[in-house]
Symmetry: C2
Subunit: 292 residues, 2 copies
Amino acid sequence: MSSSRTPTLALIQMNCSSSAEENLKHALSQIDEAVKKGANIVVLPELFLGPYFCQRPDDKKVFDLAEAVPGPTTQVLSEAARKNKIVLVGGSIFEKAAGKFWNNAPVFGPDGTLLSAYRKTHIPEDILYHEQHYFAPGDTGIQVIETPFGKICPLICFDQWFPEVARIAALKGAEIIVYPTAIGVIDDEVEENITGNWQQMWTNAMLGHAATNNVYVAGINRIGREGAMSFWGGSFIADPSSHILSIAKDKEEIVMATCDLDRVKALQDAWMFLKNRRPDQYGDLTKPVQNG
Amino acid sequence: MSSSRTPTLALIQMNCSSSAEENLKHALSQIDEAVKKGANIVVLPELFLGPYFCQRPDDKKVFDLAEAVPGPTTQVLSEAARKNKIVLVGGSIFEKAAGKFWNNAPVFGPDGTLLSAYRKTHIPEDILYHEQHYFAPGDTGIQVIETPFGKICPLICFDQWFPEVARIAALKGAEIIVYPTAIGVIDDEVEENITGNWQQMWTNAMLGHAATNNVYVAGINRIGREGAMSFWGGSFIADPSSHILSIAKDKEEIVMATCDLDRVKALQDAWMFLKNRRPDQYGDLTKPVQNG
């Protein structure tokens, strides 16, 4: 039913067990299910092949799980995209390349081509989120990918908190920004009176990107309990006016919405945020970070 | 009751009649009312001295209303700040200086000192928002002002849609960003099926700034019908986790909330968004705007 300008987007909110084989198999069956329901674009969560291993800062064995991109997992995902004639954002994969390690979101076209392999730009380092022990800061830059179902920009999890890269995506013509994610609350670490409601803040950050850039925005989270973390799900699709079209509950679920991509340019032309920017006033944004 | 680190913020959501004298008098009485209720910081709406004249693109007589900053209106506002021992953000004023015209938000300290005079950076030009016919693009840069009640950054209305300047405010140490505003829906121009719910989008844009910068954010709108526009009010104060503490309805109202400014650094330290920025990746943000 969907034409290339009104694709149906599907987010696979899933549990991730300790078996990579099982997780991949489960992801493939969920992709098939989404396609049966009419999906043209399917997005998996971040690092969906296993538990969120960055809870531990020093698990040397984890590095054995890293793989090449393209490599064995992307080969399977490529086949799933080709078979179903969809655009597939393969969540993200723990990538090893030339002795370095990255958090990589591969995007496949409907003919199975690997269209891009974005490396996560912003890497957190925090209690139970020890990603700087595992991933180098991304070096690919922000990638906006022309697909038969619109211009898609993959960003990954912690990138959500940086309006800088959402804006760059919009400037490069993105119509849909997707954020494969692994985020949850931490036992004993949630002082809600100080830090507030994490899921609300996470949702609002991305709704802000939709509102200020007039693009579709989707967050795709895992669900379930792993060690001391409870991943909250809450995957959602927002339209270019920041209205939530569809949102998941706290269980496994396929979140779907049809996106009218012509609304992106219609809203951008109506509000003229991109046109009325003042880059001469933004010099502070590119100054090195002051630590301390 | 409030100490300097837990100031009470008050937003004056008001109607603006055709009499500048009446509007100023009304604003002063609302300031007094807010102070009676415990306000330490009071913010007026954008261009509160009169109707939103930018509905018309070519009203030459309007330029006669422009005044110097400091000038007659800031003198009165200064006295109101001094008398009440508050920080006062004087909405914004149509400023004339050296033959040019600006949209200027003056900020006064509790001793009446004019601490800063920020000129609106982003100027819209749209149906019934013909601001580029009246205001030059601001040349003051983003100003974060050290006051006895915290570090405050005044931005103005259309600046709301530019996460660039909210981020710069946070990088400069802002604890509270305030947006004096004049925004409403336009008769016959609202195609909600395309452009969505304007107020929701407006609110979400600012909640996004709160979430991604972990600062207090306040939008202060006028209310009422003027010509073909209906200003929606909806003034609100959000905390550094983007939770709305207080929000106005569609009538005249003083919106108040107590701000625990130490939560700003607590959340910024907990989430580390500012620390983990990648300015080397943000070069596209400072490239000149491509029109077309």
